[in-house]
């Protein structure tokens, strides 16, 4: 969301005349081309170095790719050949050589590749401009609070964009997958792409409101609309600042109870969000995502690399790696795993691993080897009795011995925990707690198994009730058993994104909360505005109540009284 004055960039059509040269000029023309290529390459290199100072990867990687294009033999040789054989000017030779190749890209079916043609035209234009001596000063006249309105924003222009002046970007072409959109996201600049006709419609200096969330551009808004958006923008900015400050602070209650507030992740790109939202490491790394959507199995080395990166990014906090939870609603794409009639009650998670020990052992080897790079803990999903835990631990011990025989380092203090998500595990928590180092309560599955409600089935979605008294009893049983046996207990379901649940579980003395990185700031606010003693009282009352609606109403009332912000209630 942004307000500002339009800075309209008229479409630049670089017309290059076919200019023939004398045979004697060929040498000189070749030299001009070489100089222009080298010059453009230097421009990209310095842009890249500039970009690298402020942010990671994407924009810099794109510029890297451009530099490779500039010294691509296939392209440059074709241009040289045209100068030599057709006796034309360097700019004409280069432009036509590039156009020939772009024609191939534009004919491709895959939109992702078609978009790249636009990007490459940009590289070519840059070279041609340098050959023509057109000074490149696109953003020189850009004032404060500008909104850039342009037909297209090629990546090299985007890279040169003065971030302190540009409040938003509006382009006529482009899609969600275009580099413009990708880069705008990485720069956190609001952008509306694909607003066709906007360049002809908007005049320079027009007041604009750009709403990047809904994809709206409002031209010359009324004072009322402007005031509304100004207020919203200020609020969003405040909120953003507050969150940035919040990321630095621990999840501690007003009376000093510290909860480890960590992140659930599925894929490595989420590590950025884990850092940005100030999570205390990773509380649940769902490793099955390494195994899905492919026809082969990830190798030990590939897994090691992923676990190493997660462990390093989490340090000095821990990274809890859950062994694969295949089955249920997630299937490997190779055919040996037959479809089941009732997959959530079938060969899933630890059951699958104990059956397919080849897959399990490879994963455990990778996890154990990764313990050299950070504070890794390992967790088994869907344990339903002590026998399963023992069997899994035995394999783990065997794999550890194997690695030690190979002379590899394995963290001696590696903690081994289980997901408590099957009602039998919650009921037997006292027995299980004696044989592992921690519990993590998986509320999503615990709720569906306890209430016999398929959470994916819309027809009975209303029965999926996190605050059902029976669910709360199991949660309390689990937490109490953990503490009686002096092990720590966490929770890693979506439930805790609801402040009512956060207060309740705080009151049940949970040691760790793990949620999606984006919900961590909200949960942290709840914890930092609450008192542990109040939460204890609230939890004691709640677990004695007879219905979910009674519990919800009570928790909502108590939250309001405590002054805990009750935003984003999900249920």
């Amino acid at each position: 969301m942004a307000l500002g004055r339009a800075f309209v960039v008229a479409p630049r059509e670089l017309t290059v005349e076919q200019r023939e040269i004398a045979p004697a000029e060929v040498e000189a023309e070749q030299a001009r081309l070489a100089r222009a290529l080298a010059f453009t390459r230097d421009e990209f290199a310095s842009l890249r170095d500039e970009v690298k100072k402020h942010e990671t990867s994407i924009r810099a990687e794109i510029l890297d790719a451009y530099m490779l294009v500039l010294d691509d033999e296939m392209l440059t040789e074709k241009a040289r050949e045209k100068i030599r054989e057709e006796e034309v000017s360097a700019e004409y030779a280069f432009k036509t050589a590039l156009d020939d190749m772009l024609g191939v890209f534009e004919a491709m079916e895959d939109p992702y590749f078609r978009e790249r043609a636009v990007d490459l035209r940009d590289v070519g234009n840059r070279v041609v401009m340098n050959l023509l001596g057109v000074a490149y000063r696109l953003f020189e006249d850009l004032g404060e609070n500008s909104i850039l309105v342009t037909h297209d924003l090629p990546p090299s222009d985007a890279a040169a964009l003065p971030r302190d002046k540009v409040r938003a970007i509006v382009t006529e072409v482009g899609s969600r997958t275009s580099h413009t959109a990708i880069m705008a996201r990485s720069m956190e600049v609001p952008a509306v792409v694909g607003a066709s006709g906007v360049v002809g419609y908007v005049r320079a200096g027009d007041n604009l409101v750009v709403d990047g969330i809904s994809g709206r551009v409002i031209v010359s808004p009324s004072d009322e609309v402007t005031a509304g958006y100004e207020k919203l923008t200020r609020e969003l900015l405040e909120e953003k600042k507050r969150r940035a400050r919040l990321a630095e602070l621990p999840a501690t209650t007003l009376d000093g109870y510290r909860i480890e507030l960590s992140a659930n992740i599925e894929l490595l790109p989420e590590l950025e969000a884990v850092r940005r939202h100030g999570c205390d490491g990773i509380g649940l790394y769902r490793t099955e995502f390494l195994f899905l959507h492919r026809s082969d199995l990830p190798s030990e080395e590939e897994q090691l690399e992923a676990y190493r990166r997660a462990a390093e990014a989490s340090f000095p906090h821990s990274c809890i790696i859950r062994t694969i939870d295949i089955g249920g609603d997630k299937f490997l794409s190779f055919p040996e795993v037959a479809r089941e009639l009732n997959p959530f009650l079938g060969l899933r998670a630890i059951r699958f691993c104990l059956k397919r020990q080849d897959i399990f052992r490879t994963q455990l080897r990778a996890i154990l080897r990764a313990t050299a790079y950070g504070r890794i803990k390992v967790m088994f999903p869907m344990i339903s009795d002590v026998g399963e835990l023992r069997a899994a631990k035995e394999i783990l011990a065997d794999v550890r011995r194997e690695l030690e025989r190979e002379g590899r380092f394995v963290d001696e203090a590696l903690e081994v925990g289980i997901m408590v998500e099957v009602p039998s595990a919650a009921l037997d928590a006292d027995l299980l707690a004696q044989e592992c180092d921690f519990f993590s309560l998986g509320t999503n599955d615990l709720i569906q198994y306890t209430l016999a409600v398929d959470r994916g089935n819309e027809k009975i979605a209303y029965l999926y009730e996190p605050f059902h008294p029976a669910v709360l009893k199991l949660i309390k049983t689990t937490a109490d058993a953990a503490h009686r046996n002096r092990i720590w207990v966490g929770v890693c379901g979506e439930m805790i994104a609801d402040p009512k649940a956060a207060i309740l579980l705080l009151g049940l003395s949970f040691d760790e909360f793990s949620a999606s990185p984006a919900s961590v700031p909200d949960i942290k606010i709840v914890l930092r505005t609450a008192r542990y003693v109040d939460a204890r009282y609230v939890a004691e009352q709640a677990v004695r109540m007879t219905s979910a609606s009674e519990i919800r109403a009570f928790l909502a009332r108590e939250l309001a009284e405590m002054g805990v912000p009750a935003f984003r209630c999900q249920w």
């Binding site: 794109i62 790719a65 691509d72 033999e73 079916e109 992702y112 790249r116």
Partner: protein, 108 residues
């Protein structure tokens, strides 16, 4: 659509001196969006670390693996099968590493 592969001197590579048999491997590409600009750039950078001549082949179309334009022109999407060929003293190693790059994909 024919793309002639050219050697570094621009005169074609038929005059190569190596008489070792080229290493040839079949690979299924795993990059999320295929080999578009950024992954293609990574591939080319890796290929250029080797002395061996690298050929990437899709549907019998062959391009120089050290040319980003060539690699991008193959428009290799995820899940497609391509052939990697490396000819030179470090050909075996080049083939191995490039294959692993294509197969493991990048995580973004």
């Amino acid at each position: 659509m024919v793309h002639r592969r050219r050697g570094r001197d621009g005169r074609g590579s038929d005059n190569g001196v190596s008489n070792m048999a080229a290493t040839r491997k079949k690979v299924t590409v795993r990059q999320k969006y295929g080999l578009h600009a950024r992954p293609a750039a990574s591939f080319v950078k890796l290929a250029r670390k080797f002395e061996a001549e690298i050929i990437l082949e899709k549907n019998s179309e062959r391009v120089d693996g050290k040319s980003i334009m060539g690699v991008m022109m193959l428009a290799i999407s995820r899940g497609e099968t391509v052939y990697l060929e490396a000819d030179g003293p470090d050909g075996e190693r080049a083939c191995e590493q490039l294959k692993s790059f294509l197969e493991n994909g990048t995580l973004d």
